[in-house]
Symmetry: C2
Amino acid sequence: MENIRVIVQGLGAMGSGMAKMLLDKEGFDLVGVVVRRPKMAGKDIGEVLGREQLGVKISNDITTEIKEQKPDLVLQASTSFTKDAFPKIKEVIEQGVNVISIAEEMAYPHVRETELAKQMDEIAKDNGVTVLGTGVNPGFVLDTLILTLTGGCIDVDSIKASRVNDLSPFGESVMKTQGVGTTVEQFNKGLKEGSIVGHVGFPESINMVADALGLELDSVEETREPIISETYRETEHVKVEPGMVAGCNHIGKGIKDGKEVIVLEHPQQIHPHKEGIDTGDYITINGTPGVNMSISPEIPGGVGTIATAVNMIPHVIEASSGVVSMKDLPIPRAIMGDIRKIMGR
Amino acid sequence: MENIRVIVQGLGAMGSGMAKMLLDKEGFDLVGVVVRRPKMAGKDIGEVLGREQLGVKISNDITTEIKEQKPDLVLQASTSFTKDAFPKIKEVIEQGVNVISIAEEMAYPHVRETELAKQMDEIAKDNGVTVLGTGVNPGFVLDTLILTLTGGCIDVDSIKASRVNDLSPFGESVMKTQGVGTTVEQFNKGLKEGSIVGHVGFPESINMVADALGLELDSVEETREPIISETYRETEHVKVEPGMVAGCNHIGKGIKDGKEVIVLEHPQQIHPHKEGIDTGDYITINGTPGVNMSISPEIPGGVGTIATAVNMIPHVIEASSGVVSMKDLPIPRAIMGDIRKIMGR
């Protein structure tokens, strides 16, 4: 029985978490870690992760690593955008290796980058490998889980889902992209200029759900609104006075025949509990039967993304070649035993 | 583009519901209905279902129907047990046609009928067709949905889930198999004699979840206890005085190293609201992260089973051959458009 050989590319919070998760699972070999920063190269992966020495060194060169280590799959954790992910994915799949990317747009890449997605699909098929984009959202809560819940429905009239989370644990860059600590004027200016972005993933989730159900949408619309605080809230990185912005309420809508058939909300702010708001993942399906689901608190973003990406490794290895999405693969699941036994390798 | 051709076998509440659902969906042709009762033969299916004349007659002979109608799949809704379902499934798959069965034991048939499941798998593979057992439970709430929720988990320590429903709408036979309206003595006697059975499906759900996660269980245990009423409850079919039995609390446990790693509860009773109990589907995953999900009210049993079975038709047609279970197939989903387009036929 051969171990599943994995290289992790990118060693931020997500990459490190995925690397550690792989070290803790039976039947996986973390055979390489590739990062951009030259000064990291040559360091022992285990030591960098705060574990025992592994005898495997960090590298800056994915091509050589793949040649030497012959991985089954590369986990990529760097960008949010398909156009940035594309060259990195291409480099890997051209060498005949599967990829899982946590770039949000890669969850359903043809939506924003039709041409790049097509090229990727062709290269993947030519090389007999599979490319999947996933993560907690997009990839899990607001698409995979919604679809699964419709599985018990005869009819679906409309879907409304809301992912309410707490940004307090996050660092300065997240505060900036969500507009936390700005005035309303600064928030609106930031939106216009593109420095405040909200959530990346609504067009991906909405189109994935619609395509899987067979709803032919006329359009997908997005709005971003400031969450104006009524209380004083602060974190290590930001202070929000009453009247200032505590976060961004990002809403995505899938429209068909003038009707909002899919509405996804993702209000992201610091300390929502201060105003009596419970964090959670909430999905309501209006249909036959109706389904009214809540997960409270929400599935946490960081851990959820790490887990979703690693848990999909066996599914991606066994999938047919090309660019796939969560809707194409078997139901996700945790890995609690030797992955070689589970896969029957 | 060719329609998906389906025959429904069995025309009780489930079979009728599936037949109607198929009539209402684009891209499916209900090409036959096969029942046991001779007096039904020759009647128009549409008329029997309370719809327009369809020009398709009910038959008693599945073999001839398959020869004449060349269906892609047969939906079977008759028994709960694999040993009863086996000859009916065999008849269909030997003719090279896929089967979805709602027999509870068929959700994971090798658990109770190892030899029959093996034979079925071989016949299906020899004939290039797929056999799936599914339904709302087993098949959806206490296995597929649990597994999906673990998909965002790095680790799972234990799983507890509870499906709390209301038996009030059901008929006399369900009252009997759940012991509703008995005294405690009668209940315990019924359990011993096998007339009171509780839920059929725990070994299936528990083993499916454990196998998919890679938990190697030491044993699966089941207990059935009377739900003793403190209030007067009644339905059209049964009266329950205080002190009498309002239903059966059936519990299944998956045990590993002496620890209850999977605990599934299914208390089934009439009018649970009378004692302040909210019906619902509740899943708690103790792990990293923990997940605390509730669906309230529960996904209804009848409609949910009808929907789950029909919704899996495209997945079964596209699956590789053999006996499969929900854990092997892509995530379930409703069918809201022309199934030919969704499948790209």
